[in-house]
Symmetry: C2
């Protein structure tokens, strides 16, 4: 399809680019952002690139009161050949529309939206860092803007895309983390919003996350809200276990986010001939497999860290170490292959990568 060139307003002054070795996730933003508006009369309209600056909203705007919002997260990488690459961005566009549906937000044209994001990145191309492990993080989000305290979907919305150069998630190499199995708080229930990337899912986890941090854990491992026995996610990542040669990840239950990295790992493992299964898995099964010496590897998967090895998990007072706290061989291979494909150093047999 052809999408017309975006109207854009150039920022009058440009920021100094940060030192690529000192990038902190999500703290610095580029010179421009993309915005688009929705009204019932005009649908999604007025797509525009304009200077990154504060936005002005009525204090009665629905986002401040009833949390009607969705977001996405993806990355642009600079290849060795100086191309700018996106990893399966169409998956993020699809998921954003699925989140929209759950949150009663009007959907957008996915192809058009992706084209707008590419045009924004083209304008900001000098902001895509090239050092190993760095990338330009892309954050599209939509908020309900109608000034109205009635409890019902907003009649107007704004969509934004902001960009943030981010450093390596593992400045000193990929490092196994310790996680805590959460038994009090829950993240999402069947029929809730767990499958949507909406704000409320994330702040709902802060209490548990703080409790985990205070006891020296990097992340929370969430169990299902009903029986508190099925493994769901780790922090804001999907989770994988390698048990007796087979890789197992919780099936999409409606309360689990359908991760793009998750999907890619499953496809990659299948292409490698490694047995991989999506099914319900209880925390008791994980412990049992550990006791029998069959829990070979465990890792989280998500856009930010790509693959995050789990070195140990704590349940109540008991701690279980995985792979002697070292990164497993398969975990490492997945990380290397995925980041290799993303940055163009590993051949992309899957057609996952799109050039901007």
């Amino acid at each position: 399809m052809t999408v017309k060139k975006l109207e854009w307003i150039e920022a009058p002054t440009k920021k100094e680019k940060p030192d690529p070795n000192e990038l902190i996730f999500g703290r610095m933003f580029t010179d421009h952002m993309f915005t688009m508006h929705y009204t019932e009369e005009n649908g999604w309209h007025q797509p525009q690139v304009r200077p990154y600056e504060k936005i002005s909203l009525d204090p009665a705007s629905m986002i401040f009161h009833y949390g009607q919002s969705v977001f996405e997260g993806l990355k642009a990488y600079r290849s060795a050949d100086n191309e700018i690459l996106l990893f399966r961005p169409e998956e993020n566009m699809k998921r954003m529309n699925r989140s929209n549906e759950r949150m009663s937000i009007p959907s957008f044209n996915e192809e058009e939206m992706l084209e707008y994001i590419k045009q924004l990145i083209e304008i900001e191309k000098d902001w895509v860092p090239g050092e190993p492990g760095t990338s330009l993080y892309i954050r599209p989000f939509i908020i309900g803007t109608e000034p109205n305290l009635g409890v019902h979907p907003s009649h107007s919305y704004q969509l934004f895309v902001i960009l943030s150069p981010v450093g390596s998630y593992y400045p000193e190499g990929i490092n196994p983390v310790k996680i805590k199995v959460e038994k009090e708080y829950t993240r999402a229930a069947q029929g809730g919003t767990g499958m949507a990337k909406t704000g409320g899912n994330y702040s709902a986890g802060y209490n548990a996350q703080e409790k985990a941090s205070n006891s020296g854990h990097a992340q929370v491992l969430w169990l299902d809200a009903v029986e508190k026995k099925y493994v769901e996610e780790v922090g804001s990542m999907n989770i994988f276990f390698k048990i007796n040669g087979e890789v197992i990840t919780p099936s999409l239950s409606g309360s689990i986010l359908e991760g793009v990295t998750r999907k890619s790992i499953i496809e990659l493992l299948q292409s490698w001939g490694v047995p991989v299964t999506e099914r319900k898995i209880t925390i008791d099964e994980v412990i049992e497999s550990h006791r029998e010496g069959k829990l070979e590897e465990a890792f989280g998967a998500g856009t930010a860290a790509v693959v995050s090895p789990i070195g140990a998990f704590t349940i109540d007072e008991a701690q279980y170490q995985v792979q002697d706290g070292e990164t497993g061989e398969l975990t490492k291979a997945l990380y290397d292959t995925l980041t290799g494909i993303q940055t163009g150093t590993v051949k992309d047999h899957f057609n996952w990568v799109t050039e901007v």
Copy 2:
């Protein structure tokens, strides 16, 4: 306690007051609002009344991404003697701090905060309508404002109080509504955020609310997220059943909002010698009592409608009528007494009302 007079900036122009017969809930706001800021260095500081106007936020502000927010809702009434009355406002302040705790937002001094709200209302006193059924709706809310895409509690917040003159919830008298028992979507689970007044709880219900509206229902009746059999809330109100002379309301389970109207109804019924019980109640028990002719009344309770009679409820395809679709005697007595106390026409034996 003594709280110093607030610093305030007067609005340069004043809006015209609306026709009290044409007020729509939460659509018009007064000339001024209250604001206060939080930073780690200064705590809650800079309390101020200033003109109601748009607020300016960085697009990376956490409220837009991870939904860290809490709010409250209460009303100021004009009595026949021209006093301005608040109904149990200290309960709202306490609940807001309980919501803060769940959402990892720093708590505020409740007495001080109530005093600020009173000073704001004093400034806006001409906006409190006096016609029967009207009031000035008070909406305090807090949002995370740090510009940071990291998934963790914000390090800075803004607190606002905005005011909206609202009309009678029942312009043509108190009217029974039809509600739909929701079996697919869920509102909140144990360990989730159901007991907190946070944005995400409300937009999470839009899908179900729209489905209910489309089939001619005013509200959704929520069941528990685990077994989908215990009654939780109706729309954004607490629910009460009168069965065989006894009033029953779901006990506070952690997933149910602790309503100020709910609490007041329980205390009022106790003072009248009407048996009232807080306990788990299944939807099957409600149907069974209906079949046996023992379901005498049903109603929702919340700040907006005060008391909202339920005339019928639908489960799957079956519809059950309560009180021949009329407002029950006890429901009406509760509505009249509560609104009477709130507006000063019924003697306040409980000391619930505070003069501004």
